[in-house]
Structures are given as structure tokens and as C-alpha cells.
Symmetry: C2
Subunit: 338 residues, 2 copies
């Protein structure tokens, strides 16, 4: 295990200590628990937005706490959900009377704890909480049908949900309206990934899975969940085509649509390669008559030292375009108004 | 070689094609050569700042072209200098009458070509060009003495030189004054790195050097240049102490100093580990009575998929603090006014 860490059991708390030390004007911890993180800029009367999840995915989840995005985040061990009590502590801190929206990925541990936290917030604190669960990885389940449970994993596309809901909350919308915007973003975002190497959970000390020196896995999840096809590493354009095709077919994205694109590096894949990926994505979208409104390229949701990337597309209408274009200022994501 | 690329010989141009496609409102190419990149926002009457260097270090070098930073960049093959003609094409494009400042790293190929480009700009175009060569890696040579040649490599600390000179030029200072600010930043910045794994130049197809499964090299350069010590991988705090100690002794940084800190990931090292590194840096600086004014953590100067990190410290006076605090908006680096 080749990591720059101290004791594996101290990894998460030492990472958090570094984050609080590096960004004292942006984020702060709630009380004595470093795993409950909130924005240093509380805005009275605004709907609070909280997220949470396991460590090992920076800048997910806590990296998006700040102006124009989220208000708080609870942090678990590597790939583990934070507790309902930690979620509740964050909820209490960020509520300023307008209620709180939870936005998090579609994982059982997180669902269980966020549901419990929402109940406690209502019952014990009288805080109204609504929840939006993001699951947009087309490799991980059938298309969602109205009224049925979504079985898809939430991956990098949650960034778009944070961005739209965060901008809506910053604009002063009510809890119901912010939730509606978040759900609209969920309905219009699709993702697919590819992994080339595994990552190592520090306390485990060995790779979570094995993959051959010349292999890739299309559709693998950010915790190493099984994808849709393992095979020989292909040229970049073929990999992109294989990921993009099911994304486009799923919504479907069609000629005349306007989209925001996120090319996300999983951790060890150089930015150069992410741009080689985007080059092909832009070519294909142009061929299909789909217009790109704005593009994000970089590490937005990682798996520590995993090599690989994901592609997320968000179909835009005028409302979502407005929220994508709004400014944001967090430790990990800064954007001037587009 | 496990990379998401097409033909290795197309790597650089396809990466650039992706960059132009992703950031059409921010950067554009000069004429027919994608390796000559300039800002889409030319500001008349402003001193132009150009940089350049080999590919494989994103966001170096071209990633810092934009508002409040640089105006243009010429790009070479992986780890190769661009040509003097390419530098000249960029110079011609960004000159708006106030002259041009070259800021680049201390590598022979770059020095040779930038010197030739400066002569051609003066002789053929009547454009006044000044140059600042950055070499701040304390692992790579003796401390610089007045009047002697600097043998040190330029690494991630060049970001601070870009930031200060870019803000000075944006504030309307003259070429001589912008150069003075850039030199002041050079005089006050020091860096040291550590590498855990090699990287692979696509056209070569194999690692540039070998390093054992349990080894690290303190002081290694971003092209794999030999460092000051190779040995067993140590805990993070010990690695930081071994890097920070020669940095602090070199300037020297002393109690009462105010600094900006850059923790830079070399490519494959997770952001989590970079924060574990910063945690220790903050502890040591506090012990030494050195005050941190602002901290940057992330990938600012990489070697593709190399694992490792570097620490850069910039000693601030009131003037440099003002330039560090100024806003900037480039494809890779955005900062609201501090």
C-alpha cells in the first residue's frame, strides 16, 4: 500500500484536520465532532442543504459546502456512511427556519441513516426535512420508472444536483421549490464510468479487486462495484463511444437538446487523458445535434488512487441553465457567473 | 502502459483539441497551430505575460492562461520545450504595446528557445520582452547567490510567480514593475517534492525510472530527475518534516513571517493524502511561529500519473499579499478576491 498517510485508522480525521486548517474562512466543524462540517457563511432564512457519505471520494462530499452550493455535510469512514446522529447535528446547525434538504447518493447505509436523521429532526427538533436520493449511473440498473424504486448508484452526476439545488436555495426559493429543482436535475442527469485500476481502503491495506495489466471495466462503480463489461483496454475514442452510447439512449438525449457535461477523473487518471476523453465526447455530441452549454473537466468524485473516469450529461432547460450558470465559491469548486 | 489515449503520437494535440472544445470562451489558438494558446480576453494596454513548456504537467502551463493570470502559452510535446517560433507567435498575439514578460521554468530547452524568441520579438517585431526564469526546488542545487546562475529546477512554485505577476499586470503596472514583482515572488518561494511512483511518457511506453514497491524518493523532479534521498516509504508526518526542514532553512523562513502555502499533488496522489500532508505542514509552521495567510491544496503542477506531492512556501510582504489576494479566472484556477 503506497500512500502518504500516518496510521490508517487516523486517515479520515487527519484529512479533516488538514481541511479545517486549510480553509478556516470557508468551513467549520460542529461542536467537538470533526465529521460534522458546515459552511462558515450561514445565510439566515435560506433553505439549508446537507449531504453526506463515506470518505475517499474527495472532493465529494464535503468539498461542495460553501456559497451557492451546500450548507453542511456529515462524513463517514472510508466508503462508510456517517451516522444518523452526525447527520442530525449538521441539520440542526444549518437550519435557519426554512427547512433542510438532504441530497445524497443511492446507497443503503446512507439511505437508512438519512431517513432516521430526517425523522429525528422532525420529531425532536421540529425541523422540516425533505430528501432527494441521486442514482444516475446507467450501468447499475434499469431505467427508473415512475413509482418504482431507483436501483441505480449515485456517482459524479450528484455534482449537477448540488449545483442546481444550491443555486436555487441561494436564490431564496422555498424548500418545496428547491426540492423540485433537485428532482428535475436528477431526472435529467445520466452517468457512466470506466475503471482501469483498483483503489486501496487504508484500513484494509490491499486492493478492493483485481484487474489485469491490460484490462478495463466499463461501468464500474466508485467503490469497485461490478460494471457491465470487462475487457482489454481500448483506445480512448472506443471507450468513450462505449460509455456515451448507453448514456444517450437512456434519457434519451436527442438532437436539439442542450446539455452540461462533466468529465470526471476517478483519482489517478491525468487531466490530459480527461481532455482526450472530452474531445471525443464533444465530437459525438456535435454529430448527434446535441449542444454543449458548459463543460466541467477534472476530479469531482473520486475513489482515491483509482485510475479511470466517468462521463455525466445533464439535459438543460432554461431554469436548470440559470442555476448551472450561477456563481459558487467552495473550497473545491469555484465558478464566476457564466 | 495503462492510459486512456488513442495513438501516443496524437496525445498532445488531442488533449489540446479537448481543451479548446471545453473552454471556448476562455482560450483560443493562434492561427493554425493548436500549440500556441492565448486568452480569449485580450486587454489592450496591459503587459502581456507568456509562459510555455512541455506537456504532461497539467494544469501547468497553459491552464493558467486567463483573467488575472497569464495571456498566452506555447506547448511542447510531453516533457519537451515548444519551439522559439511558437513562443514568438504567442508573443505577437498577446502584445498590446506594453511589452511582454516571459515566465518559465529553469530548463535548458526552454531557456534556449525563450531567449531566441525574445530576440526575434525585439528584432523582427519591435516588441520589448523581459524574462523571469523560475527555479525554486531546493532539492536541485545550492542556494542562489547574487550574480550567479541559478541551477535549481522550476516546479510547482511557479504558480505563485504567475499569480503575483498576473495580478500586477492586471492592475496596470508597467513591464519593469511586473518583472520586479515576478522576481520578488521568485526570491521568496521555495519547493520540495517527493515521488512514490514513476510516470510514463506515451511515446516511450514504459516508466521513466523504477522505484521499489515500498520506496519513495525525496526531492525528485517532475520529470523524474534524481532527488536527494531514496529510502523506505515513511509515515506522512516524517515525509513532511523531511521536505519542510530544508525549505524552511533555505530562505530562511523565520518566526513572524507570513506565507502562502501550496500542497501540490503530482497526479495520482489522492486529495485526501494532500490534506494529511497539509495538516502536518500547518502544525510545523505554527510551532515555528510562521503565519499562514492562504493555503492552496490540489493538483497545480503534475507529472501525469506520477504519485507524490510537493510543498511550496511563498514568503509574503504587503505587496505580494495584495497580488495573491486578487481574483483570477482561468480554465484551471479560479479565485474570488480573498
Amino acid at each position: 500500500m503506497k500512500k502518504i498517510i500516518n496510521r490508517p485508522e487516523d486517515f479520515v480525521n487527519e484529512m479533516l484536520e488538514g481541511i479545517y486548517a486549510a480553509h478556516p474562512g470557508s468551513v467549520k466543524q460542529v461542536g467537538e465532532d470533526p465529521r460534522c462540517l458546515v459552511s462558515a457563511h450561514k445565510q439566515e432564512g435560506k433553505v439549508g442543504i446537507a449531504t453526506g457519505g463515506g470518505s475517499g471520494h474527495l472532493p465529494l462530499f464535503l468539498g461542495y459546502v460553501g456559497k451557492g452550493m451546500l450548507d453542511g455535510c456529515s462524513i463517514g469512514d472510508v466508503f462508510q456512511s456517517p451516522s444518523a446522529e452526525q447527520m442530525l447535528a449538521v441539520t440542526r446547525e444549518i437550519n435557519s427556519g426554512a427547512g433542510v434538504l438532504y441530497i445524497y447518493g443511492n446507497y443503503n447505509g446512507d439511505i437508512f441513516n438519512f431517513d432516521m436523521a430526517a425523522e429525528m429532526a422532525d420529531f425532536e427538533e421540529g425541523i422540516r426535512v425533505e430528501s432527494v436520493v441521486v442514482g444516475e449511473d446507467v450501468a447499475s440498473g434499469a431505467p427508473v420508472k415512475a413509482g418504482e424504486k431507483n436501483t441505480r448508484r449515485g456517482v459524479a452526476g450528484i455534482f449537477f444536483v448540488y449545483k442546481c439545488a444550491g443555486a436555487a436555495a441561494a436564490a431564496g426559493l422555498s424548500l418545496d421549490e428547491v426540492k423540485r429543482v433537485a428532482l428535475k436535475a436528477c431526472d435529467n442527469v445520466r452517468t457512466m464510468g470506466v475503471a482501469l485500476t483498483p483503489c486501496i481502503v487504508p484500513r484494509v491495506g490491499r486492493p478492493g479487486f483485481e484487474i489485469g495489466e491490460d484490462e478495463m471495466e466499463i461501468g464500474m462503480g466508485i467503490h469497485g462495484e461490478t460494471g457491465i463489461r470487462r475487457g482489454k483496454l481500448l483506445p480512448a475514442d472506443k471507450i468513450v463511444d462505449e460509455m456515451l452510447s448507453p448514456i444517450l439512449a437512456d434519457l434519451p438525449f436527442v438532437a436539439g437538446d442542450q446539455v452540461a457535461v462533466l468529465i470526471n477523473g476517478l483519482g489517478a487518471t491525468p487531466l490530459e487523458e480527461q481532455y482526450v476523453i472530452y474531445r471525443r465526447v464533444a465530437q459525438v455530441l456535435k454529430q448527434k445535434g446535441i449542444e454543449v452549454y458548459h463543460t466541467y473537466v477534472g476530479e469531482y468524485a473520486t475513489s482515491m488512487e483509482m485510475a479511470g473516469a466517468s462521463i455525466s450529461l445533464l439535459r438543460l432547460d432554461e431554469e436548470l441553465k440559470q442555476y448551472i450558470s450561477a456563481p459558487a465559491d467552495t473550497p473545491f469548486f469555484k465558478q464566476f457567473a457564466l
